[in-house]
Symmetry: C2
Subunit: 383 residues, 2 copies
């Protein structure tokens, strides 16, 4: 079994520095840098975190970003990316990159999907061209991209299906996890440099989640993701699942909740033992005029901001809040100006990083419960 303890420090190590209840703070160390946990990973779908320069992403405090295998395999293409020196060189981000396996986007974005034990065939949403994705090909693509944290290829089933459908899907994903492990390990130098995470499935069912966790432990991964959540089940059901799912996964490896979420989702998930997150919400909201503040989300398009000379969030340390008024952000979003998306994206990503930093500090200082209660009292007050 391959566990983090057996690997050289430089490739991948995870240390928990402090715990507080089930919440924990620590650091992942990799060749390209250190990732402070709990960590939020901005999403760089198609070789760019949308509407922000990569140096400004770094300045928000992000230690790692996420790239999407599905988008990048279609454009510019994995082999082309390898010829161009890999994703880091292409987009000029020199810190770690986690790539997803492509499975989730194949299900949600592509046309004419066909899923078999072998893998998935689908038609590109860009030009209709036919593609295959298998555990082996997903590992190869992520290697060609130059990913630092590779995700196992899995199926993410719709959450509202019968238990036996969820169970059969989970079992296939676990067979795919083993094929992913083997495919990754055959990757030569890349397997020496990068890490591989397995993905727990099993819907909202504790027994299925436990079975999935056991199979992943047997295979052995550097980190473990909780997959199949944030797909419409609602925060209550997600938290109910997170009451048991993280505890089923190895304690000495990072736990990554995929595709989550709203600020109050992050606080509740950290409270339940999650170490890593990714979500398009801060960037997508930034393009749509929604800004996050400690007093909840704010719709900058609302006319009440038209003459508000104050900053979006008086406590925020980001360049947008230091320099611009709500009135200006309102104007830019009403006028459809790109700068509105740019400034609000930068703020939202900075706000998310400030929230993660506040959680890390609260855990380290043993006051996470009070922090979480105070956060919710204020953030959710206007709801």
């Amino acid at each position: 079994m391959l566990s983090p303890e057996n690997l050289p420090m430089t490739r991948f190590s995870f240390k928990v520095h402090a715990t507080d209840g089930r919440a924990r703070t620590g650091a992942i160390t990799m060749k390209r840098g250190t990732i402070r946990t709990p960590a939020f990973m901005p999403v760089g779908t198609a070789g760019t975190v949308k509407a922000i320069k990569v140096e400004d992403v770094a300045a928000t405090g992000a230690d790692i970003i996420l790239g999407n295998t599905y988008h990048l395999m279609l454009r510019p293409g994995a082999e082309r990316m390898a010829r161009l020196g890999g994703l880091h060189n292409f987009m000029r981000w020199d810190k770690p990159i986690l790539t997803d396996s492509g499975g989730y986007q194949v299900m949600s974005l592509s046309d004419l999907r066909k899923i078999t034990e072998e893998g998935v065939t689908f038609a590109s949403h860009i030009d209709g061209s036919r593609h295959n994705l298998t555990p082996e090909r997903s590992m190869e693509i992520q290697r060609l991209l130059g990913s630092d944290i590779v995700m196992a290829f899995d199926e993410c089933p719709k959450i509202d299906q019968p238990r036996d459908v969820i169970a059969r899907s989970m079992e296939m994903s676990m067979r795919w996890a083993k094929r992913s492990r083997d495919g990754f390990d055959a990757g030569g130098q890349h397997a020496e440099d990068a890490a591989l995470f397995g993905i727990q499935q099993g819907g909202l069912d504790e027994a299925l989640r436990g079975e999935s966790a056991g199979k992943l432990r047997d295979i052995g991964f550097d980190g473990y993701a909780i997959g199949g959540l944030a797909v419409g089940e609602g925060q209550e059901a997600m938290f109910a699942t997170l009451d048991f799912a993280p505890g089923q996964l190895p304690e000495n490896a990072p736990r990554y909740l995929m595709g989550v979420g709203k600020p109050d989702d992050l606080v509740g998930a950290v409270e339940r033992g999650v170490d890593m997150f990714d979500c398009v919400l801060p960037t997508r909201s930034g393009r749509n005029g929604q800004g996050f503040t400690w007093d909840g989300p704010v719709n900058l398009r609302n006319a009440r901001h038209a003459e508000d000379m104050g900053p979006l969030d008086a406590e925020c340390t980001c360049p947008t809040c230091a320099k611009y008024s709500r009135a200006y952000l309102h104007h830019l979003h009403k006028a459809g100006e790109m700068l509105g998306a740019m400034l609000l994206t930068e703020h939202n990503l900075a706000f998310y990083q400030q929230l993660m930093a506040a959680m890390r500090a609260a855990i380290a200082e043993g006051r996470f419960a009070a922090f979480a209660a105070g956060f919710r009292a204020r953030y959710l007050a206007k709801r």
Copy 2:
């Protein structure tokens, strides 16, 4: 008569440091900063230079930007802008701003225009609301915006009309120029801080242009714009007009060619004695995938760039060329990513400023003719 020499240095002064043929280089000094001439002014239509942060505009070397009265009077509105502390405070640009008079955009963008001796009534292209614009109201709006260089309100007639239509339009614009002067001078403190430019009209006709110039001289302005060009007449006709128009305007004041233009337009106009320019071309082209280089414009969407690891322009000193490949810019523009517009806008604005700086240096060193010939041989070679 109000001439630059009679005014305090701090409000507005123009000094020519060197001439070379009809080309000249110098500087305008105003309270908010110095404008090196020949100058190119990036266009900040609606309170933002599109797709670029204001500090990055400054970093390209721009000494002044342009704001559009028509857009800003409709949104956020002139009185609201005044309550928000003026355009500089709103958009956080502390160097000079030139505002146009609104006349040109009323003609080109609004609906249901009606032009009388009094002024123009029109319907907003945003919401259909009715508005008036007169010389007096244009001066008031530009004062409320906090403009540093105010443009007289004029009519910009279609270039292909009969001579008598062009003549009558020019004569009305000259009466509007006097009303603009009076309106500006009644502006209290703003008239002590800001400058007013008149606008020469008269189409492609030397006699009409001369008549217009004489009327403007009689009124007296801080600077003189050449209006009514770059409206479809073509470069040859424009240059033919510029062979006489700048010489009809006062030598001791800056000459501003409105809405121009392509890099080769700028070189030909500087050669003919023009000191200032504005144009949306570098920013609009940046959003559309066209990048300017010393070897001519490049369409980054073209497939030939897909694996080109070289910079857009190897001689360019901008952050985009220092950091990114043509392959990456190609990918971003093909994928419709905002970062593509952002990086190419920054490059194009930097390229324009590098071109202006090269022209200023060539004039100062008495080698402008050689510079212009060398520029054209290379820039136009692929045409």
